[in-house]
Symmetry: C2
Subunit: 478 residues, 2 copies
C-alpha cells in the first residue's frame, strides 16, 4: 500500500472533476484525480458528445431540404453507417488517452481506480487489478462522480437487458426497431436520433407531455415533430411488464387510458431518470447518508462536515445535472479551495467567483431534437410558484423574417418571462430549428439582470432569427 499526499483529491474524472482539478492546479495546488472508468466521463463517451453526433446529420440535412434550391441537391438519405463511424471517432473509440494526456499537461496526477473515502481527507483508490492506493488530501476532497441511470422495478426488465444511455449512444448498428420508455431529454433526443437513422421507434411516456420541466409548448412541438417523423408516441402510459424471447426482441406491456397494450421491438431503451452516483463512496464511514452530497452551500461544500474539507460538485449534488453547470460549479470550487489554502475566506456571496449562483437563477439547457428546445431560468409556472409577480409574452418564431429566410417552413415559438417588480427577464424558452445558439443572449440578460428599458438598446441584427428578442420586447410593449 503506497501513500501519497496532495492538497486536493478529486473523485471522478468527468468534465466536472477535470475542471475542479484544473482550476485548483491553476491556483497553485497539487491535485490527484481518481477515476475508475474513462477520463472525460459520461459526457464524452455516452451522453452529450455521441448523442449530438448522432443527431447533427439529421438536423443538417433537414435544414438543407427545407430550403428551395438546396432541397433539390438532396436526393439520398442519411448514411447511418457513416454517422456511426463519425460517432466512433468522436468518442475516440472509447480510448481516453487524449484526455489523460490533457490532465497530465494540466499538472494533475491521474490515479486510475475506484475512489472511496475511508476517513476524513483520506481516499482509497482501488485499481482495476485490485491494488489499492491511499491518498491523503491535505485540504479537501471533491466528489464529482456524476450520476447513473435509474431503472424502475418493472417485472422482467432486468432479464430483458435494456439499453441505458450508454448502450443507446454506443450501439454499433441501427436497430430495426426500438422502444423508448421515458419522456425527458434523453428519451426524446435518442428517440429522435435513432428514428432519423432509420429505426422504427415507439416511445412510451408516463405523463401527459414530453419535457415536463419546460414550458408546455416545448413538449408539444417536439411531440408533433416526433409523430410527424413516424415515431409511435404514446402518452400517459404505465409500463407493466417487459419480456424477451431469449436472444430476441423485447415486448413491453403497458396500460394507457385503462387499456392494456404492448409493443415489441429489437431493442428497449430505458430513459427513466438518473440518480447521483454515490455507491461505494464510503459516505457511511463519515456518518453521512447518501443524501448528504446534495446538502451543499453555493460553494458546493457539503454542510455539516467538521473541518469543511468535503465538496460535492456536478451531477452528484443534484443542483443542475448538466455538463456545463458541472463545469461552472467546478470553476468556483477549484478557485475556492485554492483561495482558502491561501487563507482567503472566499465566501460564496451571490455572483462572486466563489459561488455557483446561476444554479438557482440561470441554468440554460439545449435539447437537440428537431426542433431544438433551448431554455434558461424560470418557466412562467415556476416563477409564479416561486412567488414572483411575472408577466410572460410569447411570439411565433415563424413570423420572424430571419426564420423564414433560414427555413421557409420555419415552425417555432418563443417565450420570455419578466419579473414585473424588478423589470428584468427571469426566464426564456425557444423552440425551433437552430435555436440552441440563440439562448445565450437570454442567459446574459438573466444573469446580468439587465433592465428591460436597457434591453431595448440591444438590437438584434436583421435578418437573423435572433430578431425574436426584439419581437418579444415589442409584444411586451413599452
Amino acid at each position: 500500500m503506497a501513500e501519497h499526499e496532495f492538497d486536493l483529491v478529486v473523485i471522478g474524472g468527468g468534465p466536472t472533476g477535470e475542471n475542479v482539478a484544473d482550476r485548483a492546479v491553476a491556483g497553485g495546488l497539487s491535485v490527484a484525480l481518481v477515476e475508475a472508468g474513462l477520463v472525460g466521463g459520461e459526457c464524452s463517451y455516452w451522453a452529450c458528445i455521441p448523442s449530438k453526433t448522432l443527431l447533427r446529420p439529421a438536423a443538417a440535412l433537414g435544414q438543407a431540404k427545407a430550403v428551395q434550391g438546396s432541397a433539390q441537391a438532396v436526393t439520398g438519405v442519411i448514411d447511418a453507417r457513416a454517422v456511426l463511424r463519425r460517432r466512433d471517432e468522436m468518442v475516440a473509440g472509447f480510448d481516453d488517452s487524449g484526455q489523460a494526456d490533457w490532465l497530465k499537461g494540466a499538472g494533475v496526477t491521474l490515479v486510475r481506480g475506484r475512489g472511496r473515502i475511508t476517513a476524513p481527507r483520506i481516499v482509497e483508490a482501488t485499481g482495476p487489478d485490485g491494488a489499492t492506493v491511499t491518498l491523503t488530501a491535505r485540504l479537501a476532497v471533491a466528489v464529482c462522480t456524476g450520476s447513473v441511470p435509474v431503472l424502475p422495478p418493472i417485472p422482467g426488465l432486468a432479464q430483458a437487458q435494456p439499453w441505458t444511455n450508454r448502450e443507446a449512444t454506443a450501439a454499433e448498428s441501427v436497430p430495426d426497431s426500438l422502444v423508448v420508455v421515458g419522456g425527458g431529454v434523453v428519451a426524446c433526443e435518442l428517440a429522435w436520433a435513432w428514428r432519423s437513422l432509420g429505426a422504427r421507434v415507439h416511445q412510451l411516456v408516463r405523463g401527459p407531455r414530453l419535457l415536463a420541466g419546460n414550458e408546455p409548448f416545448a413538449g408539444e412541438l417536439v411531440a408533433a415533430a416526433l409523430r410527424e417523423a413516424g415515431v409511435d408516441l404514446r402518452m400517459e402510459t404505465e409500463t407493466v411488464e417487459v419480456s424477451r424471447v431469449p436472444g430476441g426482441e423485447r415486448t413491453v406491456r403497458f396500460t394507457t387510458g385503462g387499456r392494456s397494450e404492448s409493443v415489441t421491438a429489437a431493442e428497449l431503451l430505458m430513459a427513466t431518470g438518473r440518480r447521483p452516483a454515490t455507491d461505494g463512496l464510503g459516505l457511511e464511514a463519515l456518518g453521512l447518508g447518501t443524501a448528504a452530497l446534495a446538502d451543499v452551500d453555493d460553494d458546493c461544500r457539503v454542510r455539516g462536515v467538521a473541518g469543511g474539507w468535503l465538496y460535492s460538485v456536478g451531477d452528484v449534488n443534484g443542483r443542475a445535472a448538466l455538463t456545463h453547470m458541472g463545469k461552472y460549479q467546478a470553476r468556483a470550487v477549484g478557485d475556492t479551495i485554492a483561495a482558502r489554502s491561501r487563507g482567503e475566506a472566499a465566501e460564496p456571496r451571490p455572483w462572486t467567483r466563489w459561488a455557483a449562483t446561476a444554479d438557482h437563477r440561470a441554468v440554460p439547457q439545449v435539447i437537440f431534437t428537431e426542433p431544438e428546445v433551448a431554455a434558461v431560468g424560470l418557466t412562467e409556472h415556476a416563477a409564479r410558484e416561486a412567488g414572483l409577480r411575472v408577466r410572460a409574452v410569447e411570439y411565433d418564431l415563424g413570423s420572424v423574417s430571419g426564420a423564414t429566410l433560414f427555413d421557409p417552413g420555419y415552425r417555432g415559438r418563443a417565450k420570455m418571462v419578466v419579473d414585473e417588480d424588478r423589470q428584468v427577464v427571469v426566464g426564456a424558452t425557444l423552440v425551433g430549428p437552430g435555436v440552441g445558439e440563440l439562448i445565450h443572449a437570454a442567459t446574459v440578460a438573466v444573469v446580468g439582470e439587465v433592465p428591460l428599458e436597457r434591453l431595448w438598446h440591444a438590437v438584434p441584427s436583421f435578418p437573423t432569427v435572433s430578431e425574436v428578442w426584439l419581437r418579444l420586447l415589442e409584444t411586451y410593449g413599452r
Copy 2:
C-alpha cells in the same frame, strides 16, 4: 392642389420610415408616409431580403455536406432556378401591396409620391402622374429616405450599364460570369451568392483586405473562403476604365502592383459604397446643406433647425447604415415625437427610450457570407483609437466542441475586446458558419455593461458553439 394636415409627415417608407410612423401612431399621432417607390424600401426588395434568400441555400447545403452521414445524401448541386423563384416570392414580385396594407392596418396614411420639403413643416408629394399633394406637418417631419449607391467616376462605367445592388439582387438568371468591384459587405455577399449559384466571379478590391471596418481576421477568413470557392479575388486594385461591346460583355481594366490587367465578364456589379439619399428633398429651401441630415442629436433631431421639427432617421443620417439600426432609431424617434406632443421633454439621455445610444456603442452586424461574420461594438483598433485601455482575447472557434459537432471541419475565430478600466466587454467579432445567431449574446453584454465577473455566471449550454463565450473568458483569465 389638395391640402392635408397630419401631426407627423414621414418621407420614405423603408423599414425606418415604417417604424417611425408605427410608433408615432401608437403614441396617438396622425401620420402621413410619403413614398415614391415600393413601401418596404431597399431592404425588402433589393438588399437584406433578396440577398439573404440568394445566400441561404448555399449555406444550408454546405452545412449538410460538411457532416458525415448527411453529406452522403447530397448528390446534386444547388438548383439556381429554384433559388431565383424563391427570391421572387420573398420580394413578392416587387408588389408592395402587402406592406401598404400593413401601413393601413397600423393607421398610417400612405401618400404615393416623391416628398420634397418646401417650407418648414410643409412637404410636397409629387405622385407618379405628376400631381402634387401638399402635406402640413403640425409637429414634425421625419426624413427616412435611406441611401443610394455611389458610382465612382471611372471612364466608360456609365455606358457599360453596371449592376448596383438592385440589379444584382433582382437578376432573373445567373450570369455566366460577373465582375464585382468592391470589398465591403455588399460586394462580398453578392460575390458569394452568385458564385454559389454557378457564376464565374472576379472580385476587384481597392484596399489590402476585405470588410475593412472589421477585425482583420474577418476579411482574411472570408477572402480565403471566396478563393476556395473559386472566386478570382484581386486585392489592392485600382479600376481604371470600363468598356463594353455593345450589348455584350463588360471589360474592366485595372492596375495592381504597378501592372495593368483586365477581366471580362457578362455582368459588372459596382459595390463601391453608398451615400445618403438627399437629392430632391428641398433642403436648400430650408437653408440647409445636404450634410445637415447627418448633424443630429441622439434623438435623430436635426440640429440648428428653428422649432426643432425636422428629424433625420436611418441610413440617411449616416449613423449606422443598417436596417435594424434604422428601425432602432425609428422607435426612439416615433416615441419621442409622440411624447413631445404631450408636452414631455423626452430628452435623449443615454440609454433611455428617447435616445439611439447604441449607435455609438453597440451596432451589431451580420455578414451572410460563408463563413458568416458577426460583430458588435468596437474592434480592438477602434477601441484604442477611442482612447480606451483595452485588452483583446481571441479563440479558435474550431476548438469548441459544439463547433466540431456542428461541422467536423469547422473553421472560425472569435475575439472579445474588454475595457480594462470598466471591466466590461466593448466589442466582439465572430467568424464561422452560423455565427450570425451568436452575436446577440455579446450585444446584450455590451449594452447591459455586464461586468466580466458577472459574465462568468452566464454559462453557455454544452455542447453549443456558444461555448466560445466561456472560452474567451477563460482565455482572458480571472
